[in-house]
Structures are given as structure tokens and as C-alpha cells.
């Protein structure tokens, strides 16, 4: 009898089709640039690696901060925070997670070589001290109310595996040992990322046995793959297809406003900008240093047209660095109104009555409709006299050249780019985008235009040291107003993100745009 039962079990196991293995196949629009959690502060990287690694403080889908590897946190004095680390957390290899790992992560994060956009901002200015294996203290020179927000941006790596490990060691999987719900099995750049369930996960058994991430760059191909059942879940449903897919009975869509802004960064540090020429092709002084020119370009952009015609309604015209619904934004700011005549007048006032020639660089396929937005903006600029050519580059090439292409300096003159406020509030955009570029202080880490305003820097620093929420929000709002008055950047729109999944799966949209297997549940 027992033998018969065993046989039956064996037979059942042998016959079980692979479909019974709970595998979730995910179609990605943009693939991560590395498996090193501190190499590149980029949404596809942070999203992907959230499966393998974890943060001390995690962000819930609605942008609220929740305990992660830190069970609780509190301030001891104005400048000292105490964090209680979660016990019984094990790395994927079974070794225990302790305070030493956190201290190691703090040392490693700002010092990854060749990082196109580092995590220095989250770590700089903080002194970390181990109290015991599961308690740490972090102190700052001034009060720092954003401590939990900063920590919600930093993935913790294991000291044992990360000591001396290079980015390549994470890519090969050797050092990619995390505490997260899934283990990295294989990373084949350009083709796939495979993960397997971490059965010993402290937060309970994860839902999916296996994960397969496939980068499918082209929108229609991604949708076709979902319709055909090749993947179960896709990010960035092309805006052109949303209306039609809503009626598709086999699929379920979910949408949410992003904490990202799509904007333009302008070269404001070189006297001769490499991609700007006079109308006759002659060399001219960099016009983007003149606030009037920057404002003219901003007025030349028809944001409503971009939202309605290019984004097909799935976006919100932007007035500042983050949508109104987020902390620290200014209610006073409205999107700069489309005013081609006013723009021409401003250009003439600045000494460019005939405009100039410029090349707009942007990524192809990093942000929803990025190439089309660039094309539409090029049209609008050309109409106010700024003859604009566009060049779209593969995202990895684009970001590296846009950050460090010209001998460690940003290479381009005018770029289309996006920024997700990784702290979930305005200082997370202000500090890296319009703060003065300073590696030591960790400000301006993504300031590819090198705009610099000491008054604004001071305001941002002041906000970061203000413990009172209402007061901090007010200072941040003022800083936003100042940045917009200087036209430090030109905001275009805030995207609304759309995920698609096969029927029977439920996807929770996330403001941080992460595409996570943890957001997908079976109905």
C-alpha cells in the first residue's frame, strides 16, 4: 500500500507539467544596467534589485515608508537616529544579517567606480555607529528629518560577499547575495534575468517559485508577448494601446501617477556648448546660460499638446520637479503656459532674434514615448526659431555620455531625461537635480546641466535640517519656486504609469515605478 502511494506520488511528480511551477514571466521595457545595487541610481536597477536585496526602510506602493530590514527607528537627539535591525534575517547563503553589513554598505555605496549616477547622496554626511549586532546609530552634523527617506533608497549588501567585490562580481551573481524574497539565478544582459524563490525569507514564503524578466524594448512587441501569453505581466504599456487594451477581456491594466518628472537639463556651465551653433553654423557663446533663453524654451513647449497628442492623455503637464500631490511641492507653481510669441520676444531680448541651432539628445526607450516627445519638442523649438535636431541614443550609452561623456563632465548641451524622486518628496529631486554638483557633499549627483545657485543650495540644506514637517514643506516649496524662476531645468510632464497583466493577476501600481513580482497577486 505504502509502495503504491509512493509510486503514485512519483508518477504525479513526473507528470506534473511545468505550468504548475509557479513561474511569473515579466516583460520589461528597460533593462537594468547592472546587478550591483550601488552602481547606477536608476529605476530599472532599483526595481529589479528590490527582489534580491532589501533596504532598512522600504517604500509602500503608495509612497509611505514602512519598516524593512530596520524594525523601527527613532531620534535620540536632534542629530542622532537609532535603528533597531530585524533579527533572524538571513542572507541567501544562510549567514545572519547584522549591523556590520549595514556599516559595510554605507562605506561601499558612494565609492563604486564608473558609476553613472551614484548613491552618494543617500550616504554622505552621515556617521554610522554599531551599538550591538542589531542596533545602529546614525548621526548627522545638523538635524536630518529625512533620514528614513534617505535610507529607503539604499539597498543593503552583505559584507561577507561584498567585501572587495566589483560591479562584475554582482553581475556574475557571485556577490549578488541578498536578504530579499528572491535569489538571483542568472543575469544575461540583453536577454534575461532569472530568479528563484528564497524559501527562508523572513517575511514569509514569496508567492512565485521562479521569476523570469525579459527585456522587450519595443512597446508593441511587449503587448504582443502579453497577449500571446509569452509573459504574464508587463510594464510601460504603450500609450497608443491603452484604450484598446482596456477592452481586451484577457488582460487587466492598472495605472498610477508616478513620482517622476520628465524634464530637460541644459548646459549651464560651459561658455561654448558643444551642440549649439549659430543659425549659419558658426560658433556662438552658450545661450543657455541666459535665464531669458531658458525661459523662452520653456514657453516654447506646448505641454498640453505633449500630454494629449504624444502621451495620449496618460500624463500630467508639469509645473515643477514633482506632482502637487507629493510632499514639499509648491501650490503656487503652474505649468509654464505655451507662448511662442513671448518666447520669440525673450530670445530677441537675449540677443538671439533669429534663434540658434541646437541638438537635443535623449534616450530611446527609457521613458514612455521618449523619442516622440523629443521630436515634438524639436518641432516646437524650431517654430520659435531654435532649429533643433534630435539624436536618440540607446539608454546605457545616453546616460553614460550625458553624465561623464566629456572627460568626466556631461557631454551634451540639451537633454531630455527623467527623474524619480527616490525619497518620495521634493528634496529627493531638488538636491540631485538643481543642487550644485559636489561629489563630496553628495549634492547635484544628477545635475547634468551644472546649474548652481548658492541661495538655493542653502535653502535645500535648510529644509533638510528642518524637523517640523509643515515648515520643511514650506521651505521646499520656496526652493522649488526659486528653481523654476531660474529655469534651472524645464519640466515637461509627470507620467502616469500603466502595467498590464493577464487576467487572473492583480497588479498594484507603484508611484516609484518599480515593476515588482511582489506587486502581483493572484485573484
Amino acid at each position: 500500500m505504502r509502495l503504491a502511494r509512493r509510486l503514485l506520488v512519483a508518477l504525479a511528480l513526473a507528470m506534473a507539467p511545468p505550468a504548475f511551477a509557479e513561474e511569473l514571466k515579466i516583460g520589461l521595457a528597460a533593462e537594468p544596467s547592472a546587478m550591483d545595487p550601488h552602481f547606477h541610481n536608476l529605476t530599472p536597477n532599483s526595481g529589479m534589485l528590490s527582489h534580491v536585496f532589501e533596504r532598512l526602510v522600504e517604500t509602500a506602493p503608495d509612497n509611505k515608508l514602512v519598516p524593512g530590514l530596520a524594525e523601527s527607528w527613532r531620534t535620540l537627539t536632534d542629530t542622532v537616529w537609532e535603528l533597531k535591525l530585524r533579527r533572524n534575517v538571513k542572507w541567501h547563503d544562510g549567514s545572519p544579517f547584522t549591523a556590520d553589513d549595514v556599516i559595510f554598505t554605507f562605506a561601499r555605496a558612494p565609492n563604486v567606480p564608473n558609476s553613472p549616477s551614484s548613491f552618494a547622496a543617500a550616504v554622505k554626511g552621515k556617521t554610522i555607529k554599531k551599538i550591538d549586532d542589531h542596533t545602529i546609530e546614525i548621526s548627522t552634523p545638523a538635524p536630518h528629518p529625512l533620514m528614513p527617506n534617505d535610507l529607503s533608497n539604499l539597498l543593503i549588501v552583505s559584507k561577507k560577499h561584498g567585501d572587495g567585490a566589483k560591479t562584475e562580481d554582482y553581475n556574475s551573481g557571485k556577490a549578488a547575495i541578498g536578504t530579499g524574497p528572491y535569489k538571483l539565478v542568472r543575469y544575461v544582459p540583453g536577454d534575461r534575468v532569472e530568479m528563484a524563490r528564497n524559501d527562508a525569507y523572513w517575511g514569509g514564503k514569496p508567492q512565485w517559485e521562479k521569476l523570469l524578466f525579459k527585456p522587450i524594448k519595443t512597446g508593441p512587441a511587449r503587448v504582443a508577448a502579453l497577449l500571446a501569453g509569452d509573459v504574464d505581466f508587463i510594464e510601460d504599456v504603450p500609450t497608443a494601446d491603452i484604450e484598446r487594451l482596456k477592452k481586451e477581456p484577457k488582460l487587466a491594466l492598472s495605472q498610477g501617477v508616478s513620482r517622476r518628472v520628465i524634464y530637460f537639463h541644459m548646459d549651464q556651465f560651459r561658455d561654448d556648448s558643444p551642440f549649439i551653433k549659430g543659425k549659419d553654423g558658426s560658433a556662438i557663446k552658450n545661450p543657455l546660460k541666459d535665464t531669458r533663453v531658458r525661459l523662452a524654451l520653456s514657453k516654447g513647449i506646448n505641454r498640453d499638446a505633449i500630454v494629449s497628442r504624444v502621451m495620449e492623455g496618460v500624463a500630467i503637464p508639469a509645473s515643477q520637479l514633482l506632482d502637487h500631490s507629493f510632499f514639499g511641492t509648491s501650490r503656487k507653481l503652474q505649468p509654464v503656459a505655451y507662448d511662442p510669441e513671448g518666447a520669440k520676444k525673450l530670445l530677441a531680448d537675449a540677443g538671439y532674434p533669429d534663434g540658434f541651432k541646437m541638438t537635443l539628445h535623449g534616450p530611446n526607450g527609457r521613458y514612455t514615448n521618449d523619442v516622440k516627445i523629443a521630436e515634438a519638442v524639436a518641432q516646437m523649438f524650431t517654430r520659435i526659431g531654435v532649429e533643433t535636431a534630435i539624436e536618440s541614443l540607446p539608454p546605457s550609452v545616453f546616460f553614460s555620455r550625458a553624465s561623464i561623456g566629456a572627460g568626466g563632465q556631461p557631454e551634451f548641451s540639451f537633454i531630455l531625461v527623467g527623474w524619480g524622486a527616490d525619497t518620495g518628496e521634493t528634496s529627493g529631486s531638488l538636491k540631485p537635480l538643481v543642487g550644485t554638483f559636489d561629489k563630496e557633499k553628495g549634492t547635484g549627483t544628477a545635475n547634468r546641466g551644472r546649474y548652481s545657485n548658492p541661495v538655493l543650495d542653502k535653502l535645500i540644506a535648510e529644509a533638510q535640517a528642518t524637523v517640523d514637517d509643515a515648515k520643511r514643506a514650506e521651505i521646499l516649496a520656496r526652493a522649488s519656486e526659486m528653481a523654476m524662476q531660474d529655469v534651472a531645468i524645464i519640466p515637461s510632464h509627470y507620467p502616469v504609469n500603466t502595467w498590464g497583466a493577464r487576467k487572473g493577476l492583480k497588479v498594484q501600481p507603484r508611484a516609484d515605478e518599480y515593476t515588482l513580482a511582489m506587486s502581483v497577486t493572484k485573484e
Binding site: A224, P238, A240, D241, A378, Q379, T382, R383, E387
Partner: protein, 308 residues
């Protein structure tokens, strides 16, 4: 040109042909196929439309000041907010598709013809030299040709474009690099045959210079297969350019050729906006089919073995 070296036989199709020059014979042979004549007519029309595009299109689709994103994705026959009707609709950037197709044809045809001519000149010279010089040089050149032909054309073109960058001139360079080997191999084969004929021997006896023998005597007799190859290659070059543009490595986004127009419209295929890809696709298809039909008939007419 000494296209026909043998005396022309009397016309056998019953039509009276009073005086038969080689050209008249060629024309009448060509006209035997109605399909080919129709294809030629279509081709002439396409070329004329492409050449005259700046004068007959309602819009210059490459002038960003004339294109408005507010007009994007209008269905065929819909009116622009400015007034004019877009009979073939508009693409995702608001370009009038009729204008964009004609301008795209200009690029496609000129790239096809230019790259074909340069590749032909280069390949023919190399092939003739190989055939006439023989020996080690011949072996060297032909192994180079073999090597080149063993790589997929699209791969070579993609690599070259990646190295050179975007632009019409770069596309032409890439297409020449891909095509010259075909010409070299064809010409060498024909030239080897021609070389052994008596007229070459006679020319050698007369003490004519090598270059004169090669270019004035052998080359003209190698022309028929070259003409056929040129038509086939032109169609191929156009298709390859479209492929490169479709893959997004060819021409700038703001100056789309047919391939890029199709690629742009491809995004909207699933949402029912068929026209953005469909019409440029049809234009590309018709052009290539027309060239191929004309080329087929040329092959029949110029092939001595098929001559009755």
C-alpha cells in the same frame, strides 16, 4: 555600346520592323512582356513623383516648423486643425503621410541608385582587374569577395553604421560595402569568358594597352549581366536601407525614410491606426516589385541563351 554583337535576326512576332537597330530590337523585346512595361511605367511614375516631391507635396515633412504634433495620427482624409486635408493621414509626429512617403521615396531611391552606382564602379573595376591580372592578385581579391559574401549583409551594414554614425552618406557607404562583392564576382566570371575570345587576342596582337583592352573591349561585353545585377541590387539596396531605418540605425528621426515611417507606424498597428505603416509599406512594396519586374525582363532580353 555593343550590346548585340551578332547580326539581328528578322522579327518573328509578325510585326514589321523596317530597320532594326540594336536599340529598337531591345525595346521591342522588352515590350513583349506587358507586365514589364506596366512595371516600367509604374517605376517611371514613382521616380517622377519622388523627383518632383518638393513641388507637389503639400508639406515639407523634414521642416520641423511645418510639422505639428497637434496633427498627429489623423486618419486618412481627415482635416488638419490648420485647414489642409491629409489624404493618407498623418504619422505620430504630425507629418502628412503623402508628403512623407514621397520624400521617403526620394531618400530610398537616391540611396539605392547612388550606392548601386558606386558599388558597381568599384566592384566592376576590382572584378576586371582580378580576371585580367589572374594569379595571386585574382586569388586574393576573390577570397576577399568570398569572405565578404559569407557574412550576412545586414550584419555588416549594422556594424558599419554603428561605427560611422547616422546619416545618408553613411548609409550609402554601408550599402556599397555590402554590395561591391556581388559586382566583382559577376564581372570576373564574365570577363574570364570574354578574355579567351578572339577579339581580345586580336586586340593584344595589335599591341593595345592593358587598360584599353580591359575597359574598351572586355568591359562593354560584360555589361548585360551587370545591368541585370544592377536592377536586382538596386531593389535590394532599397530594401536594406528600409531595414536599417526600421531598426532605427539609419537616418535621423526627424527625416524619416520609408523604413523609419513603417517602424514609427508599427507602434500603432495594434491600436488600429493602420495607415501610418500601411501606406509607406505599400509604397516600398510597389517600388521594389516594379524594379524587380523590370529587372527580370531585362535579364530575359539581355540573356543571349534565351534569345530566339
Amino acid at each position: 555600346m555593343s550590346l548585340a554583337t551578332s547580326p539581328a535576326p528578322a522579327a518573328i512576332d509578325g510585326k514589321a520592323v523596317p530597320i532594326e537597330t540594336p536599340l529598337a530590337r531591345f525595346v521591342s523585346d522588352f515590350c513583349e512582356s506587358r507586365v514589364a512595361v506596366a512595371a516600367l511605367a509604374v517605376l517611371v511614375l514613382i521616380v517622377a513623383l519622388a523627383v518632383l516631391a518638393p513641388w507637389i507635396t503639400p508639406q515639407n515633412p523634414y521642416d520641423l516648423a511645418q510639422v505639428d504634433v497637434l496633427d498627429s495620427r489623423l486618419a486618412p482624409g481627415e482635416k488638419s486643425f490648420k485647414g489642409p486635408t491629409h489624404w493618407l493621414g498623418t504619422d505620430g509626429a504630425g507629418r502628412d503621410l503623402f508628403s512623407a512617403i514621397l520624400y521617403g521615396l526620394r531618400i530610398s531611391l537616391s540611396v539605392g541608385v547612388m550606392s548601386g552606382l558606386i558599388a558597381m564602379a568599384l566592384g566592376t573595376s576590382v572584378g576586371l582587374i582580378a580576371a585580367y591580372a589572374g594569379g595571386r592578385l585574382d586569388t586574393l581579391i576573390m577570397r576577399l569577395v568570398d569572405l565578404q559574401l559569407s557574412f550576412p549583409a545586414i550584419l555588416i551594414a549594422l556594424m558599419l553604421i554603428a561605427m560611422l554614425g547616422k546619416g545618408v552618406d553613411k548609409i550609402i557607404v554601408a550599402l556599397v560595402a555590402v554590395q561591391w562583392a556581388y559586382y566583382a564576382r559577376t564581372v570576373r566570371g564574365t570577363a574570364l569568358v570574354e578574355q579567351r575570345k578572339e577579339y581580345v587576342e586580336a586586340a593584344v596582337c595589335l599591341g593595345l594597352s592593358n587598360s584599353r583592352i580591359v575597359f574598351r573591349h572586355i568591359l562593354p561585353n560584360c555589361m548585360p549581366p551587370l545591368i541585370v545585377l544592377a536592377t536586382v541590387q538596386a531593389a535590394y539596396a532599397i530594401a536594406l536601407e528600409a531595414t536599417l531605418s526600421f531598426l532605427g540605425v539609419g537616418l535621423p528621426q526627424t527625416e524619416p525614410s520609408l523604413g523609419l515611417l513603417i517602424s514609427n507606424g508599427f507602434e500603432y498597428m495594434l491600436s488600429g491606426k493602420y495607415w501610418i505603416s500601411f501606406f509607406p509599406g505599400i509604397a516600398l512594396l510597389v517600388t521594389i516589385v516594379a524594379i524587380n519586374l523590370v529587372g527580370d525582363q531585362l535579364r530575359d532580353v539581355l540573356n543571349p541563351r534565351l534569345r530566339r
